[in-house]
């Protein structure tokens, strides 16, 4: 810690407020008056323990005393959805850890990945960009597969980090962390989710990377990511045909089944699909006739699908070795090799793995051993 990293002004101000001088502080902390004077002049910096005691004495928090770090703060993608909001504190801590691992990534450090030019939350812009992105993915079929999304993420130099965060106690379906100093985007993908949610979140986080810093309003950015994800997964022509089908069908059940059947064929959530079709309908002054019913039946629909993790591993839970092997093969992730290199280079312990991946200490122990064997 250097003198520049401590706010000596804050110490002086608080001492003055409390009518304390260097001698009073020295007496309370059991140090010499000279050393306190040197702290106040910025010639010396209190050792961390002494800084903590000084803060306690003067009623100053760490944030009152520590200067902002020289590196920029990690940026955590905002999430508005109720049950999968990232805990900003935990995600930020993960970001700090990732900053240490960046040097071990096999990336070209000198070129930034491409971004969208002046993104706008308008239907025209979203449809045009969705079309371009689908074209660049070179997808022949109507359904966009996970592998298409992974390939696109790799082109954008997004570090995909598959994780098993559990289904029931899930904090996030996915988590996007951007590190400004290295320009790297890290996207954590929870494999313990349903396939339609999984595809949506990969795409959603990929779009966050494409528009990084373009929206001043995080809610607006989140809405853009939602709309564009839906537009890429469900092409306009498909949504229009489906709208016509639902409008033309006489029975409510037939309308409803048309949505569910389309959701099955595209492997998208009926809710995402209904929202997409509804937004196309609204742009034409109409309304999707069975939107509400789709919402209420979504849970039943979800039961038709297993978790993504069940697809990738022969049996659950997988061993850490299998987890790493499958993650590298299927997702092309460089994250585990980078983490392994970091652990070996620094002699770090299991705690570093838990902190980097946001996993439990029990899983971190298994991962740690497997990474050291890599």
């Amino acid at each position: 810690m250097t003198a520049k990293t401590i706010k000596t002004d804050a110490i002086r101000e608080r001492m003055s407020e409390r009518g304390m001088n260097a001698s009073d502080v020295a007496a309370n902390l059991g140090v010499s008056r000279t050393i306190v004077s040197e702290w106040l002049k910025g010639k010396k910096v209190p050792r961390p323990r002494m800084l903590f005691e000084l803060g306690r004495l003067l009623g100053l928090k760490a944030s009152d005393l520590f200067m902002a770090p020289s590196t920029s703060e990690p940026i955590i993608a905002f999430r508005k959805r109720g049950n999968c909001k990232p805990d900003q504190g935990v995600a930020l801590e993960m970001g700090y850890v990732l900053e240490r691992i960046v040097d071990y990534l096999p990336f070209n450090k000198y070129q930034s990945p491409p971004r969208l030019i002046n993104p706008k939350n308008t239907p025209e812009y979203i449809e045009n960009v969705a079309g371009e992105i689908r074209k660049s993915m070179n997808v022949a079929a109507l359904e966009i597969g996970v592998e298409d999304l992974i390939a696109q993420c790799q082109q954008l130099k997004i570090v995909l980090v598959p994780v098993l965060w559990g289904e029931k106690s899930v904090k996030y379906n996915a988590l996007s962390i951007y590190l400004p100093d290295s320009g790297t985007n890290w996207v954590f993908l929870n494999l313990d989710v349903k396939p339609m949610d999984f595809k949506f979140w990969i795409l959603h986080e990929m779009i966050h990377a494409l528009v990084r810093g373009a929206f001043a309003d995080t809610v607006e950015e989140e809405r853009f990511c939602d709309e564009l994800s839906a537009a890429i997964l469900v092409p306009l022509e498909f949504a229009e045909i489906l709208l016509q089908k639902t409008l033309a069908a006489e029975k409510k059940g037939t309308k409803f089944e048309a949505i569910l059947s389309a959701a099955r064929s595209l492997v998208v959530s009926p809710i995402s699909l209904a929202k997409r079709v509804d937004s196309v309908a609204k742009a034409r002054g109409k309304e999707l006739p069975c939107g509400e019913a789709v919402f209420s039946e979504n849970t039943t629909f979800n039961k038709e699908f297993g978790l993504v993790s069940e697809k990738y591993f022969d049996s659950l839970p997988p061993s850490a070795d299998e987890f790493i092997r499958v993650s590298e093969r299927e997702f092309g992730t460089p994250a585990f090799a980078a983490l392994a290199a970091y652990l070996k280079a620094t002699g770090s312990s299991e705690g570093a793995v838990a902190a980097a991946l946001g996993i439990s200490p029990v899983d971190a122990k298994a991962m740690y051993r497997a990474l050291l064997r890599e």
Binding site: M1, T5, R47, P48, R49, L51, F52, G55, R56, K61, A62, S63, L65, F66, P69, G89, V90, E93, Y96, V97, R100, L164, W165, G166, S169, D192, S309, L316, P317, P318, S319, A320, F323, T346, G347, S348, S349, E350, G351, A352, A354, A355, A356, I359, S360, P361, V362, D363, K365, A366, M367, R369
Partner: protein, 194 residues
């Protein structure tokens, strides 16, 4: 619940708990030596260890009911002001960890924060924690040093210590093996000479 007399209190991090708790079960009931020494965990560690594991593991027992109940026994009993001090200490530790480039998990920083505020000793083999503990002059010992202390204070026989080490070895879970086995070998020699 902790008494505040002249007990010597050791606070365990998650990994130290996982290394000791199944052989020495119920670990948190262990009181030994004079003045009495005992082990505690904190709610943050319990919460982490109680999370369901998603990878095949030797430590699946850690989120079973009797182990969870054991961990809850000796939470530090602290008032609101002290809890505020712990949070504040955590923030200082986080600031230092960041400025020094040390990786310490949020929960491990809580272990250090409690130890800093309450004056407890930490049992941990975590390298990042050790470096941060040194900067804050928080006393910290590794699992092998704790086992030696446990033996010396009459808290466990050498056979029990041997069993703990055997289990750790079977699980490929010996931290810094060279130092660990050197210290353990000396303990065994000492025990054999008695």
């Amino acid at each position: 619940m902790l008494s505040s007399g002249n007990e010597r209190v050791f606070i365990l991090d998650s990994n130290a708990y996982l290394r000791l708790a199944d052989v020495l079960h119920p670990l948190l009931d262990l009181t030994f030596g004079d003045p009495p020494a005992k082990l505690i965990t904190i709610p943050e560690v319990n919460e982490e260890l109680s999370r369901s594991h998603r990878l095949r593991s030797h430590f699946a027992w850690a989120n079973q009911g009797d182990f969870i109940a054991d961990r809850k026994k000796n939470y530090p009993k602290i008032d609101r002001k002290t809890h505020g001090d712990v949070i504040s200490a955590w923030e200082y530790l986080s600031g230092t960890a960041r400025s020094e480039g040390l990786i310490v998990s949020p929960t491990d920083k809580y272990v250090l924060a409690y130890a800093l505020v309450l004056g407890y000793k930490v049992v941990s083999d975590d390298r990042g924690m050790r470096q941060l503990a040194e900067l804050y002059q928080i006393p910290m010992i590794g699992v092998i040093d704790f086992l030696i202390f446990l033996y010396d204070e009459g808290g466990a026989s050498i056979e029990t210590i041997q069993e703990v080490v055997d289990v750790m070895e079977r699980r490929d879970d010996i931290p810094d093996p060279k130092t660990f086995f050197s210290k353990f070998g000396k303990l065994c020699q000492r025990a054999a000479s008695l």
